[in-house]
């Protein structure tokens, strides 16, 4: 079984609490190793090892940890360099240069917030810790540039190695971005199903969308952000990722579908906000029956990844073929539902066909 089949079709519910505990155990072990080294080496600044480990795990996800290793090393080097430059060049000659620190700190944080670059975050943290120790030290705490820079840099390398070693050996599957990605795909589609359900009820009964709806939309956005970030991390977890064409196509198809779904949902909400249900295309009962099937599809994408096919798209297509009143709200609503159903079918059948050699199951009629 290739990775492709695992990632796309096998969307079982993962126990998040269990996985989080396993990862917490791994981090706690890594941190404890750092502390043991801190005590056993008995060298100045050995706390830097456990600090590096803490920074490595500040955003979980294996891909993220690997992706951040380079930034961690580069950021430490630059941060230490700037800190020592400031201490030894300015503060050594005149302590009043320290008054400038809040202003530098402010500008640096603004810059970090704008760029959202992890290297800058590490530079900032690494730069200010030696500075803080210098300020709080009662004796004249002058850093010897070459010595401390080198030793902290070595500790950074040790910290990065310990973090990676633990990540790859202790509960090595607990923090795979791959697994989270798989779960988030299912959650995303299920969430779209919930949103559609609320929209359908609101449209039929003419009631305004409430706070619950806003909450669902927020959840949906969080899922997309999470999927994007997990996708970026996944590339660092598997070395054959770039060469895996079906996988790449599947991910691209997923993001195209997400964009299309969001766009269609936005249009549906617009229709709800401006128009009420009319019987230009079908009766209320008919309409409800069809849209509920599409909602069901979204909520149970797992079955469709395993080859289930239905004719909901064809049924709704037959409704919108009657082009009597193309500006009527129900016509427009049905049209958007048709596209949503089509996008869903395209995506789920693509996944099934790409990662399974067997044919799709026979079409199930939704109106039976």
């Amino acid at each position: 079984m290739s990775y492709g089949i695992i990632i796309m079709t096998d969307s079982y519910r993962l126990n998040k609490v269990k996985l989080t505990r396993q990862q917490a155990f791994c981090i706690a072990i890594a941190f404890s190793i750092g502390v043991v080294l801190n005590f056993s080496l008995n060298l100045p600044h050995a706390y830097w090892i456990s600090m590096t480990i803490a920074l490595m795990f500040c955003y979980t996800g294996r891909g993220s940890i690997i992706r951040r290793s380079k930034s961690r090393i580069l950021g430490t080097f630059l941060g230490l360099f700037f800190a020592f430059l400031f201490i030894n060049t300015f503060m050594y000659s005149d302590y009043r240069w320290a008054y400038l620190l809040p202003f530098i700190w402010f500008l640096a944080w603004c810059f970090y917030c704008i760029t959202n670059n992890y290297t800058i975050y590490v530079v900032l943290i690494t730069m200010f810790i030696p500075l803080c120790f210098t300020i709080s030290s009662s004796n004249s705490y002058v850093f010897l540039l070459n010595n401390t820079l080198a030793i902290r840099f070595i500790f950074t390398l040790i910290g990065v190695s310990i973090a990676l070693l633990c990540e790859f050996t202790i509960y090595k599957k607990a923090d795979l971005s791959f697994r989270y990605f798989k779960r988030e795909i299912r959650n995303y589609f299920s969430n779209v199903g919930d949103v559609l359900n609320l929209c359908n009820k609101s449209f039929i009964h003419g009631v305004a969308l409430d706070k619950k709806f806003a909450g669902e939309i927020k959840k949906q956005m969080n899922k997309i952000v999470s999927l994007e970030s997990l996708y970026l991390d996944m590339a660092y977890e598997y070395y054959d990722w770039v060469d895996n064409k079906p996988q790449e196509l599947a991910v691209k198809k997923l993001f195209i579908s997400i964009e299309e779904i969001n766009f269609r949902l936005r249009k549906i909400i617009c229709i709800l906000g401006h128009e009420d249900f009319d019987e230009a295309v079908c009766t209320k009962e008919n309409f409800l029956e069809i849209v509920n099937i599409i909602t069901y599809k979204y909520k149970h994408i797992g079955y469709y990844f395993y080859g289930r096919v239905d004719d909901a798209t064809e049924v709704i297509d037959s409704l919108i073929k009657i082009k009597n009143s193309r500006l009527a709200s129900t016509y427009l609503y049905c049209k958007e539902m048709y596209i949503l159903s089509k996008v869903f079918d395209d995506y789920s059948s693509f996944i099934y066909k790409t990662f399974n050699e067997t044919e799709l199951k026979p079409v199930e009629s939704v109106l039976n």
């Binding site: 989080t20 803490a54 700190w105 964009e259 936005r266």
Partner: protein
């Protein structure tokens, strides 16, 4: 244009709602206050007093209601206090210390709901290893953590008191300008004119703003669609400030209430513009079957721009800008057009009209709300 204007424009392009500026202040002011306290008190103190308060304050940003904000801050401060105390007391009993630190780190990372703890707390736990040990020092630093917590709580309220209105106002102004821009993009053929006349040129032009989002790079071909998608992202940031955030002070509550009332209709306009997305791409030009559509679009540009200025200047513009006659004429033509069987007309054109109709309805409501808000009608 003088240099200050240029600097302001660049800052506004990268931080249009002032969000990052405020975040920078949140990272700086509490710590600086701690440093000032240290300078004034001149007592023996560790870096906790001037390095931790801002982090405690930042912990509050992971929730939108006050109960959870305070709980987050308390939990963060408590983790800091306990870990430094454990290190100070058990520094010379290393096996016990390692076991206790293991448990603390395990506790920090097991929380699914409060996962923000894992971002900063372990970093501080590691740094505490460098501080001088002993019961006395541990107790001293417990007090320092308490003071840091108090500083952070004071700043939590101060920040809301002084910056909430600014955040709400800048978010709604930014979003109103983006609505104008997106409407302009989907209703103008000439690309150069778009580049010249939209208000957020850098967001439209620069590939730098594509970076945070892989959807932009990998999916959209047209620059118009990329821009519309980027507005979606800006919308979610505005949502957090205008719809989700709970405010403590009455003046901010009222202000948020009024702003939300207007913002909701801007959101509706944004969705209505979505109906205009495919018309240009499929028709390679704007040739409308319903008369007065071109004039109506020109009028909407003007109205959107004036509404945005109305919020900016906090007053109604001098001139009346709703061309009622034109709107009535257009609606009549649309009504006639929709009664005919227009089988040759593509669905995208009909959707374009539907979008315009919705946009007009929402524009009228926003106009009324702003007029009543500024009491000039």
């Amino acid at each position: 244009m003088n240099i200050l204007d240029k600097i302001y424009k660049i800052i506004r392009a990268y931080d249009p709602t002032g969000e990052f500026f405020i975040k920078g202040l949140m990272w700086t002011l509490p710590n600086t206050t701690g440093a000032l306290y240290l300078l004034i008190s001149r007592g023996p103190s560790s870096f906790i007093i001037y390095f931790v308060p801002s982090s405690i304050l930042i912990a509050s940003t992971y929730s939108s209601d006050y109960k959870n904000k305070l709980l987050n801050m308390l939990l963060f401060a408590f983790t800091m206090a306990i870990s430094q105390w454990v290190i100070a007391v058990f520094f010379h009993r290393q096996v016990i210390l390692i076991i206790l630190l293991f448990l603390i780190i395990f506790f920090i990372y097991t929380s699914v709901k409060r996962s923000f703890l894992g971002i900063l707390a372990p970093l501080f736990v590691a740094i505490f290893l460098e501080l001088p040990p002993g019961w006395y020092n541990g107790a001293n630093r417990l007090i320092e953590t308490g003071i840091a917590f108090i500083i952070a709580v004071i700043y939590l309220f101060l920040f809301e008191f002084f910056t909430a209105k600014f955040k709400i106002r800048s978010s709604i102004i930014y979003f109103s300008e983006l609505i104008y821009d997106s409407f302009f993009c989907y209703t103008t053929e000439d690309k150069e004119e778009i580049e010249r006349r939209i208000k957020h040129k850098l967001l439209y032009d620069s590939s730098y703003f594509n970076k945070p989002d892989i959807l932009v790079e990998n999916i959209f071909v047209s620059r118009r669609d990329k821009f519309y998608h980027k507005i979606t992202l800006a919308r979610y940031k505005a949502d957090a400030i205008l719809l989700e955030e709970n405010y403590f002070f009455r003046k901010n509550l009222m202000y948020a209430f009024y702003a939300k009332d207007v913002y909701v209709f801007y959101l509706r306009m944004f969705r209505a513009i979505g109906f205009m997305r495919y018309y240009y791409g499929k028709n390679k030009g704007f040739d409308f079957s319903v008369s007065f559509t071109t004039e109506l679009i020109a009028n909407i540009y003007h109205r959107l721009s004036l509404l945005s200025n109305m919020i900016k200047d906090r007053k109604q513009p001098e001139k009346e800008f709703r061309d009622s006659k034109l709107i009535d004429n257009w609606k009549q033509h649309l009504h006639k057009f929709s009664k005919n069987k227009n089988e040759k007309v593509h669905d995208d054109e009909l959707e374009f009209y539907f979008g315009l109709k919705c946009l007009l309805a929402d524009l009228d409501i926003v106009r009324e709300k702003l007029n009543s808000r500024y009491g000039l009608n």
